[in-house]
Symmetry: C5
Subunit: 321 residues, 5 copies
């Protein structure tokens, strides 16, 4: 059922209808109404235009997918676009957009598919209708609160991954670790992109800038802002930690490389001169008197070892060994 009405009448009793049929009448009667719309519905656009008399641009924005969270003041109505996050089938982060139109007597929410933040609130209202009883601003708060909470499991999951990366980077420093670092970095970037606008949006809502969100609702919005600040603070510090981990990885790899190079240098520069000397006495000249000398071979060994040992000694004095 794409459209649901949640109603609290003058007596404070909670009720629920499907479809828009009674919406205008209920609002006119002074009930507190939450209109929860999912996806495109044939009767929705005319209703927004002719019954609620929303601005054409607001309707256009509402029905389309808008990438950035924002809040716009249309006088009698406040238009809020907020994001939650979820993991898709490939375990990648995708953002869940919820559009909210808030007035003093009714609130309209719209999204393109299931959004657990809104769905869970809708099903809880039956048992606990207080938010709607207190007014539309508290429904908006409840939704924003749940949207912000949807970031937490993902941030927690990252926390685990970062702990594993930090251990791995010191112990193994394999290219796989770098792959993981880059992957996590990109996920953080993706989150941060929307988060900048969402933080701005929540900050403005909690500052008492809009008359529709004021008085006793403000501390609740400030609370949501605080929670979201925690998410962005954490993602900032994850970014720093990942940069640090990458630095450690690069430094480890470079140290290892240096050791490898030094070994090559060592072996090659010790052995090459010795090989040369062996080559000299392997020449076939007729007149090479030392070849016929009784201790020639012994001396050859002594010379070769002396050259090799000299190289080693020279390295030691230069502290390369």
């Amino acid at each position: 059922m794409p459209i649901t009405l949640h109603v609290v009448d003058e007596s404070g009793a909670y009720g629920k209808r499907d479809g828009l049929a009674e919406a205008s009448a209920l609002v006119a009667k002074g009930c507190k109404v939450w209109i929860d719309a999912v996806g495109h519905d044939a009767e929705l656009q005319p209703f927004l235009e002719h019954e609620l008399k929303l601005h054409p641009l607001l309707i256009e924005d509402l029905l389309e997918d808008r990438p950035a969270p924002k809040v716009e003041d249309y006088g009698a109505a406040l238009y809020i676009v907020a994001h939650g996050v979820a993991l898709d089938a490939k375990q990648e982060i995708c953002s869940i957009e919820v559009d909210i139109v808030l007035t003093s007597s009714w609130i309209l929410t719209h999204r393109h598919g299931p959004a657990s933040a809104v769905d869970s609130l809708a099903s809880e209202l039956e048992r606990k209708p207080q938010p709607l009883q207190r007014g539309p601003a508290f429904i908006a708060h409840a939704i924003l609160d749940r949207l912000v909470d949807s970031y937490l499991p993902i941030v927690d999951e990252w926390d685990d991954q970062i702990d594993r990366i930090e251990v791995a980077v010191v112990e193994r420093a394999t290219p796989e670790v770098v792959q993981q670092i880059f992957k996590l970095k990109r996920a953080l970037q993706a989150l941060r992109r929307g988060a900048v606008h969402q933080r701005e949006l929540l900050s403005r809502l909690s500052r008492g800038e809009f008359p529709l969100v004021s008085g006793d609702a403000l501390p609740f919005y400030r609370d949501v802002y605080d929670h979201f600040l925690r998410v962005t603070d954490l993602s900032d510090s994850y970014r720093e930690i990942l940069s640090g981990a990458l630095d450690i990885y690069l430094s480890t790899v470079s140290n290892r490389m240096n050791e490898v190079m030094k070994t090559l240098t060592l072996v090659a520069t010790i052995i090459l001169p010795m090989t040369f000397i062996a080559g000299v006495w392997g020449m076939n000249f007729e007149f090479m008197p030392e070849l016929h000398w009784r201790y020639g071979y012994l001396v050859a060994w002594i010379v070769m070892l002396a050259v090799g040992g000299g190289m080693v000694a020279w390295f030691k004095t230069r502290k390369w060994l």
Copy 2:
């Protein structure tokens, strides 16, 4: 025809003339007039000076190519320089400048060549004259909207390229990928240069700072601003992704280099000592008793393989292999 007049008279009827002949009379009659001028025209400058009485500096700016988008308030008139983008013959981005002079009764646009944003609006007016009927501020909005929309196909094209680069950088990591990254980076820089000023311009227009753009036009300008913000947000995130891709490329190349170096080290440090030993028994000394020993050759092989195997074992203990 370089100059076209679009007119909506008091009755709301739309008409179109060529040339400036009737312009002053129509404005005086209270018609809503859009003067659309292309390139340099002999009668334009005197008209701007003597009929419209524009500030000499405004006229100078209008007729020349100015690099940066801006908005200037001349009291009765608002001078806007805005940019769109197009691909030139070499498939490189070039910016299309449109200058707008906006007053409460008429609007003047000027550009140096065809600009699809303006041309498409001009040809649509015949069928849908509403923007001009609603007033000059809505013509200005329609042009800005189309200018901003001209960024979208280019940003989409980049999106595809970046996807391909991200795949390529992990799979192949050839220098060609780097060339592509640098090329795209430069294109992004070029776009961002003008975009900073254009965003500022749109933000000021949508903030209600200018009396000529106010009331019911404001939400439309805010909408354009939002669209443009999407463009600049996207180009910012492309920049981050490209930087990330470059980091991955460099890390991949450096890993590969390390492997190559390790192989060289391995082969050279194993083979060089063995070659030296073969060289020793290739010397021609007369008194080398082991040469005459029955199992000398066998022992030589054993010694050489032991040295090589020892090297391999040492590498294994150091985890280089």
Copy 3:
């Protein structure tokens, strides 16, 4: 004992009770009361809710661990979350959170375990009750002052470590130094994360923004702010010094590497051609007239040394040696 009351009655006499039993009565009598609560206590939450009538969100924040320092104005009460630091069992920095609710007549502090900043003040009050006599804002100041002071020993310890690192990086440049640099860098990051919010909090308190902290208390808060600024300034400059030390390390390592490579190049490019020449005259062709020449061997040496010497000379002209 989880809850302690510190009381100064109208006569200025100081007293101390356990538990919340008399709290409401004492506040009603106009005594200055400091309620110091540690951890969760069954009677605390109802007391906060029903006796002190605090906002439900404030109570929730107070009883939970909140990561970021902040100050919130609830009208009659000011809610402050401040951090101190301590070293845990593994000698790593952990932050100590103290929550403060400040009104004109009483002050409530809450923390989850022992916090030396609060405990030392509590035990000093018996001897020197002046802060409580002067009013709750001075108790809050005393706690903030001690929390800020808790940073000093850690900053001093870092100072020593950085001095050692700076010496080590020039003298030895071993990978261990880099490990230390990265470790210290992470500790600094951890400190800076909370410090940004804490500095903001102290700055707001010392600016006279809140009526509950004003007049003669302001210079004292400014003093705490100054102290904390010193801590953050120091940690900023440590970060710069560590970055500099890392640069020096990398530059030293790279210099050393260059020297090693140059040596390898030198030895290899001098010896390899000489070995080749020795190999030539080690061939077994029947008709190699120079082999039978009397001075062949001598000339061979001359040729080989000339080639080696030529290489050295060429290096010298290129300034590689």
Copy 4:
């Protein structure tokens, strides 16, 4: 002649005197006077002090070389220090300082040597005295305009150099290109240093902050500000392009280095094992049965080629070739 008076009397007639003799009288008579002073002059300082009654600090600043552009409001007088640029004998950029004291009736300019911006204006005034007729603020504008224009040929010259560098970096990537990049970078830095303050100065003048520059003069100052913004925007984008060019250079050099290294690895790891095998059969052991076998030599070649080919094949499987 170090001091020249340009005068427009009440009738609007333009005249020119040398020296300061009549200056006070002309100002007193209500003429518009421009006092153009070059270098140090014995009569200048007393005149500034006693006739014009300027603040001692203003006089000190005026007669000395001050490095940074600035504007200072002394109530009745506005003190402006602005910079132009010129190329010195070594084709390096040097800045030309012009000091301006602006009041409602007279204007004083001072510089230490020839400044084409001022000199060209002075010689043009004879033919076109309008700026002085319109008032001192227009003389100040004309000078600032010409100072800003003096940046253009240098920026154009850089444009050419950068185009050449961009081509060179891709095609040749020699160290000379890097030298050029670093040289141009330094020149850009030198320009940017003063430009920050100059932009600030022009921005403040064009904002209508000072009563002495207001009304009909403002659009002209805004125009100068716009021109200067173009210069700084260009120099910013040049900096970005140079950074990009340096990145391309480094990436090209590193690619080339990788290829060189891979070749060395290839040749060395193929040839070294083959050389070892040849060395084995060059040993002089008495009992090496294969040496006496008819097909020994053929088999030796097969073995050696097989080892070399095996190496090549292994490289191919690892995609190093």
Copy 5:
């Protein structure tokens, strides 16, 4: 003598006393008094507390060493902490702190040792008592001016060093140059740390924010601010130049390394195959027909040179040579 009184009485006559004995009386008489205190003095603290009635926190700050320059407004008194610099015995920069308490009738300065900025002013007052005659704000200005001037010789010295470094980095590029760059960079960092706060302090004083520094004193404070801005601008540009010099150094070193590597590759890849071929014909197989061929040796040389020449040719086609 730790405490000196400089007094200008109602008649404008200048006098000087030692010790604090007459201080209160002189201030009460309406004399302009400058109290210059050095180090700790037994009578100082009671005097500050009981006679001047300064705030306890101000006294604490004054007598201790505070690291960061600042200005604090205590209503009737302005508390300024300013820094000068000097070179210590090891030719390293150390900062000289001077604390100033400024009121409308008297001024107090305190420092822990000799400070040439204050000492030179004190000795000049005897000859030129004008600053004290004009009022305490002019004494404060004179001290700040001299403190700022103390930066100049150090900045000049750096200028020379940087010139030498810039030449050295291009000509020699030895590790010693890098050491110098890092050393200078650290000195610049040390200076910048305090300078940020000092610039803020001078900016606030020169903005007319404090009633005690106003009117005719303001241009003088603005002048000091300007001078200090010059110091910080210079140190900023030095930092940029040093970064540039480091980049040039690294690029030079890397170029040199590349050349060295290319040479090694060249020699090794040319000589190794030739050595292999010589090794082949050095084998002792019985049936190697070419060994017995008359032109075998000649052909061997041709083959070896052909292989070497082929390598060189291949390098040339790849532009590595």
